[in-house]
Amino acid sequence: MNNLIVKRSQIIECQFTGTPATNKRYNFTQIPNISRNNIILYAIEALTADQLTYTPNNNQVIAASNAVNVVVTLRDNNKDEFMYSQPLYTLVRPNVGGFYTLIKPRIINLTDCYCQLVAAGSVSTNQVAAFNFIYSLVGED
């Protein structure tokens, strides 16, 4: 069996600002580290409060029970929605045998990526959907 190697990683977040509303697009928060055009994303995991209670920005992460209420869409630098409305639940490692979700390596446009609530559930204002992006730099071995 193979296991993922993490070259570089970054906790990123998508904040549900205002009263949480279904179907509204909540874009990811800008992270300078991975907002350059030389970032190649190759794996992803989602985090709930069971794995991380607060992000480094001191934002509260949504409860594990709300993972089923969130879907995520990732866009690359060509605006291609290569991961469309993926249930956040399936990106949480304890829900899928501890595995990371692998992605065909590609350059992403972070602030174009977004989360949507399919049901408000018990998500509170300013809570965040948190993710760990595993990436490498262009040309890095």
Binding site: N3, L4, Y42, Q51, T53, N95, N132
Partner: protein, 174 residues
């Protein structure tokens, strides 16, 4: 009859580019245990939310001397008493913190929830998750610039400490 392995092109690409390796593969030529003890208020390792707990300088773990291939946190269910005599932390504390791996210019190479570094098999939501070591390919780190933080300090006391095990390959061509 010749046997064929079925490997997806994506997995083959990952294996070829240091993004993946067989789970049972050698983790590193060497490992090192690092214990940090939480201390009383007013001292460098006193307990406070969002306080940076930097590692002590260790040149053998700097990028110019070592390729870090894996890292894990040892909790009380694996080692009850730490090497320095303090009580080990419980795994449920890990969800409150994260580790930052930084280079010599304080650029962050990796931010990792501490939960990810807990390697043993564990039960979550009625499911048992097999042991999975957090494998890395870090080669630009400056160990004393690396640090971890806790957003919530519930459960941390001055009688406790935290233990990391770092697996690395020394770079001998230096």
């Amino acid at each position: 009859m010749q046997k064929h392995r079925i490997v997806s092109p994506l997995v083959e690409y990952f294996l070829r580019n240091n993004m993946m390796r067989p789970f049972a593969d050698m983790l590193g030529y060497r490992s090192k245990s690092i214990v940090l003890a939480f201390t009383a208020a007013g001292t460098p390792y006193s307990i406070a939310p969002f306080k940076r707990y930097n590692f002590q300088p260790d040149e053998t773990l700097n990028g110019e001397n070592a390729l870090i291939t894996a890292i894990e946190i040892i909790c009380i269910d694996q080692q009850s008493v730490l090497d320095n005599g303090q009580t080990n932390i419980t795994a449920d504390i890990l969800k409150n913190g994260y580790l930052n791996i930084c280079d010599s210019e304080q650029n962050i190479l990796s931010t990792i929830p501490l939960f990810n570094l807990y390697a043993p098999a564990y039960a979550a939501g009625g499911k048992t998750i097999a042991r999975k070591l957090f494998m890395t390919h870090w080669k630009e780190q400056n160990w004393q610039n690396c640090f971890f933080e806790f957003a919530d300090i519930t459960g941390l006391t001055t009688s406790k400490g935290i233990k990391f095990v770092v697996y690395y390959e020394p770079l001998t061509n230096k």
